[in-house]
């Protein structure tokens, strides 16, 4: 193959990929992917667990979901966050014993610990992204549930990329934290483009973004 053909093919591939990404972003941001087609098979679900308040909020959201529809559940938790791990395990154990306990814990290194310097945190963030890659590739989730911790970004972006290359149809559902009444979190600002469902918990925040949904008081 001569050089010119190679270059042309490369450009063609790049253009196709960009077109696909833009098409999906357009589909997502116009709300076309908000409702998935009818299904009865359970969804393989990734649940991104952050720390402290994020974990409590997430478990509050999950409190009444039908486990039979969302199974297996793969929790992604920072390695050192034993508090969140305990909360998740207690939560799963607290559900009626008849219900399925089909859940798994996936640990990734923390991208930034409290007080860590900016320079080293770039390095640790890359490490934590690299750890997320095999998890998403292996699981190919039907749903990704997240509510704002930084660790959810690589998971969501990777799921989105898999969707771009037709590997799986991951639906990304983002719930902005209850703390956010006027401004979006950094995660929210990024996920605006790739989360199929974007929920906020305050009407005042809903008015700041056309595609955000306010479905009522959740906390």
């Amino acid at each position: 193959m001569d050089i010119q053909l190679q270059i042309e093919l490369t450009i063609l591939v790049i253009v196709v990929v960009i077109a696909r990404v833009l098409y999906l972003i357009h589909k997502i941001t116009t709300g076309y992917s908000k409702y998935a087609p009818k299904r009865s098979k359970p969804c393989k679900t990734i649940i991104c667990i952050g720390s402290g308040g994020h974990t409590t909020e997430m478990l509050q959201l999950l409190k009444n979901i039908n486990f039979n529809n969302y199974s297996p559940r793969h929790y992604v938790i920072a390695k050192t966050d034993t508090t969140s791990l305990n909360k998740v395990q207690t939560f799963e154990a607290s559900r009626n014993s008849k219900e399925n306990r089909d859940y798994f814990i996936n640990k990734i290194p923390r991208s930034r610990s409290v007080g860590q310097s900016y320079i080293t945190s770039i390095f640790t963030t890359i490490i934590s992204i690299l750890y997320s890659v095999p998890i998403v590739l292996r699981l190919r989730p039907d749903i990704v549930l997240c509510n704002g911790p930084g660790t959810c970004i690589p998971i969501c972006v990777l799921s989105f990329l898999l969707k771009c290359v037709f590997v799986c149809e991951s639906k990304i559902i983002f719930v902005e934290s209850f703390c956010r009444t006027q401004t979006f979190s950094l995660s929210g600002k990024i996920l605006v483009y790739i989360a199929d469902n974007f929920i906020v918990q305050w009407p005042s925040l809903r008015s700041k973004l056309k595609r955000a949904e306010y479905i009522g008081q959740l906390m």
Binding site: G53, Q182, I215, G216, Q217, M219
Partner: protein, 183 residues
């Protein structure tokens, strides 16, 4: 006996802990009829830091906790890094003074206790003030900083309205609909 419960959650907020034991705050609390203060101090707490203007103080160290008696005011203060019976502490309290963490605020509001949220101005990018501000606007609590605590204690808590309970099935119904389990 009227009790105030002070909580800083899982973080630390030494400025709030120290503000409680200043002469002004203790005087105000006593005038309002409070004579028992329970303080959850959070991590890295080493010893009570009582305002030197408060005289006649006895300090008692127990395991992981301190009991302080202010004899002039007949006020007792109990310090604890964490209370195991956190919810019970809120239930027993007549007033809760809390840091601005969403979790702590919601716990107190769920138990329908009068609440003052004190924001930590030393925290950078403190988006938690956003929530406290909104909840104050909706009349669920009062919020202030360490310097304005005394004024806030005098506010009329009768005017606060309870935070409504969320609809438990709201999110699960929404999720089922979005994922195609319900049409």
């Amino acid at each position: 006996m009227k009790t105030v419960f002070v909580t800083v959650g899982t973080t630390k907020f030494p400025k709030l802990v120290d503000t409680i034991t200043t002469l002004d705050v203790i005087k105000t609390l006593k005038n309002l009829g409070y004579d028992n203060v329970q303080i959850q101090t959070g991590k890295d707490f080493h010893k009570p830091n009582i305002d030197p203007l408060l005289k006649n103080v006895t300090v008692n160290l127990q395991e992981q906790s301190w009991a302080v008696k202010l004899l002039d005011f007949d006020v007792t203060i109990n310090y604890n890094t964490y209370f195991d019976n956190f919810e019970e502490q809120i239930r027993k309290a007549d007033l809760v003074i809390s840091h601005a963490g969403a979790g702590s605020c919601l716990d107190v509001l769920r138990l329908k206790k009068p609440l003052i949220v004190v924001t930590n101005e030393d925290l950078m990018d403190n988006h938690q003030t956003e929530l406290a501000e909104q909840l104050q606007k909706d009349k669920h609590l009062f919020f202030c900083n360490c310097n304005t605590l005394v004024d806030t204690l005098h506010k009329d808590f009768i005017n606060l309205v309870p935070h409504p309970q969320p609809d438990k099935n709201l999110f699960s119904n929404y999720l089922d609909k979005c994922c195609g389990f319900v049409q």
